[in-house]
């Protein structure tokens, strides 16, 4: 029984809520977390970019677009959002200070993961409601199937974000995660399936966490089908990058 520290769950929830608010209050973060995914959703709804895939699988254009936008949300929050927040917290000594409070290092990391999940819930509500308003008819079974996939994707990208934030300077973290976001969103197989590439390059996005998450989510939400390979790829990224992050993460700048 603790006499001095608040209970572990209340500490972690407090930190999770605090970091969620911090991310959602930051203007630049809001662009990345909410505005860009919404823009992508609208653009893919009203242009014919995804029509060839929609025809090939005999589904609506929107059915290809929504899973990709959800994957983009995961990437925005876990890689860019948490990466940038953690990078600057490390630079300003916040990680050091909070690790000396009862929260501790473990609680701080758990709070960060919780914040990623909470921000993702906010994003998904906004994206799914907007998609419904724009005429999307959801695949309910597929939506439930996608929940573990989204969490696995969040784990892979959070590991990557924390590895970058914990090893390079804050400004470099900012540059790297934003660059990675742009490249992966564009050609990483998130929004647009990798099959647009010449056959000999197609495997590249598929082995990246971005392409694996996009593929897995499209299979689930478009076709109600569970694809094992992209899940294995996401799990491998999580385990390998997570292990490196645990070893290399520096708590002070």
């Amino acid at each position: 029984m603790s006499n001095f520290a608040a209970s572990p769950s209340s500490r972690i929830i407090a930190q999770g809520v605090y970091e969620t608010k911090a991310m959602l209050k930051n203007g630049e973060q809001l662009m990345l977390l909410i505005a860009f995914p919404l823009m992508a959703l609208v653009a893919l709804r009203y242009t014919g970019i995804l029509d060839s895939w929609a025809h090939a699988h005999n589904v609506e254009r929107f059915d290809v677009a929504v899973p990709g936008v959800l994957a983009l949300c995961v990437m925005s929050t876990a890689l860019s959002g948490q990466g940038i927040a953690t990078g600057f917290d490390r630079r300003y000594g916040v990680l050091r200070f909070l690790s000396t409070t009862p929260l501790g290092r473990g609680g701080l990391m758990a709070g960060k993961v919780l914040a990623v999940v909470m921000v993702m819930i906010v994003q998904f509500v906004i994206i799914l409601v907007t998609a419904l308003l724009l005429g999307w008819s959801p695949n309910i079974t597929g939506l439930f199937m996608s929940i573990p996939t989204l969490l696995l994707g969040a784990a892979a990208f959070t590991s990557l974000g924390l590895l970058i934030a914990g090893t390079v300077r804050a400004e470099a973290t900012l540059a790297i995660v934003n660059m990675a976001w742009v490249i992966l969103a564009g050609v990483g197989g998130v929004l647009i399936p990798s099959s647009y590439l010449p056959a000999f390059l197609e495997w590249i996005p598929n082995v990246l966490p971005s392409g694996a998450l996009g593929e897995a989510l499209r299979a689930e939400l478009m076709l109600t089908r569970f694809e094992l390979l992209p899940h294995i790829i996401l799990l491998l990224w999580t385990l390998v990058v997570g292990a490196i992050a645990l070893k290399k993460f520096k708590w002070s700048a």
Binding site: S2, A5, K25, D89, Y92, V94, R96, T100
Partner: protein, 337 residues
């Protein structure tokens, strides 16, 4: 009282809240450092930043750790705070090893870091309320805010606060958990005189409450006002320790100085012969004199007698004793290294 006796009086059956014994902390230097300083390297190619520092802090006392830049103060403290593991020696913080300490131990320790460690994009009170949630019985955030005048600037995010305002928020953050041990790294740096008075009052109150306080500062005037016990470290080792009074007494050369301004010329020959040995009289500027040495009441009497006999009315007359700053500079060297 000798250092040994003082130690016995401090200990008197109590257990220290923080006990550091023979702490060793090494770091791996860069290649250029290794090439420039081969004599500093150990067999393993490391450099010892802390080479066996020991200190104890008892409940209800303010212990001041003094040392020049790079003497190993911050490294010692960060080991005691559980931010780094020790490479040798033992550390006991409330009976536990601070490295990998339990949340329950961390809840009893308040830390004000040198760089503050505060998030930038948040308002001070919001931050303090968040930190308070980590504790079962936190102090009242409202009281701390009131006391430290934080409400005056609460509309501003921490990023935009002045150095002294940030210091006050960092102190409040260290106090919010009602700690038993309090680490204060340069608590008065950058504070205006009003804030400094408040911060000193708070430190004294915490001491009254029985909190064990470890404080580092470069402002020796502050150290002299607050310290119950002082440790001076140099190049990663203990040099000396004691109460301020002891340190002043034990290095008692030039114990006092009388400075005065007189219009007529004065020389040591004007003093009775038996009073000339242990003192020096220097003229620092035309008409400005310093009489320095082991002064006795007789010296003062002789000086005023001289004034009376020669009809001198000094325009200033100050008696000053040696300060902790003098002791510190003598011990740790006056050169910048």
């Amino acid at each position: 009282m000798s250092v040994q006796n003082q130690r016995i009086a401090r200990e008197s059956g109590r257990k220290p809240a923080l006990s550091i014994d023979g702490l060793i902390k090494e770091f791996k230097p860069s290649r250029s450092f290794r090439e420039a300083n081969p004599h500093l390297l150990t067999d393993r190619g490391t450099v010892q930043a802390v080479r066996g520092i020991s200190l104890d802090v008892y409940p209800g006392e303010v212990v001041v750790l003094l040392g020049a830049n790079g003497a190993g103060k911050t490294t010692t403290l960060s080991c005691a705070q559980g931010l780094q593991p020790a490479d040798g020696g033992t550390l006991q913080l409330l009976g536990e090893n601070p490295w990998g300490a339990s949340p329950e131990l961390r809840a009893q320790v308040g830390i004000m870091l040198q760089d503050g460690g505060l998030p930038q994009a948040i308002h001070p009170i919001e931050l303090l309320k968040h930190i308070a949630k980590m504790y079962k019985n936190p102090a009242s955030v409202d009281d701390l805010v009131q006391r430290l005048g934080i409400n005056e600037f609460n509309g501003t995010t921490i990023r935009r606060l002045s150095g002294g305002q940030k210091q006050r928020v960092a102190l409040a953050a260290a106090l919010v958990g009602n700690p038993k041990v309090l680490f204060l790294d340069e608590p008065s740096a950058g504070l205006d005189p009003q804030s400094r008075t408040v911060v000193f009052d708070i430190i004294r109150e915490q001491r009254e409450r029985g909190v064990a306080i470890v404080l580092t500062t470069h402002l020796l005037d502050d150290a002299q006002r607050l310290a119950d016990y002082v440790y001076i470290v140099k190049r990663g080792e203990n040099v000396t320790e004691g109460t301020v009074a002891q340190l002043l007494q034990e290095t008692n050369e030039q114990a006092h100085t009388v400075s005065f301004t007189a219009a007529s010329a004065i020389s040591l020959q004007d003093f009775p012969a038996h009073l000339r040995d242990s003192v020096t009289l220097t003229q620092d500027a035309p008409g400005q004199y310093s009489l320095t040495g082991e002064l006795t009441p007789e010296h003062l009497n002789a000086l005023t007698t001289l004034f009376v006999s020669q009809g001198i009315m000094p325009s200033s007359f100050t008696l000053a004793s040696r300060t902790l700053e003098d002791v510190f500079l003598d011990i740790s060297g006056r050169d910048i290294r």
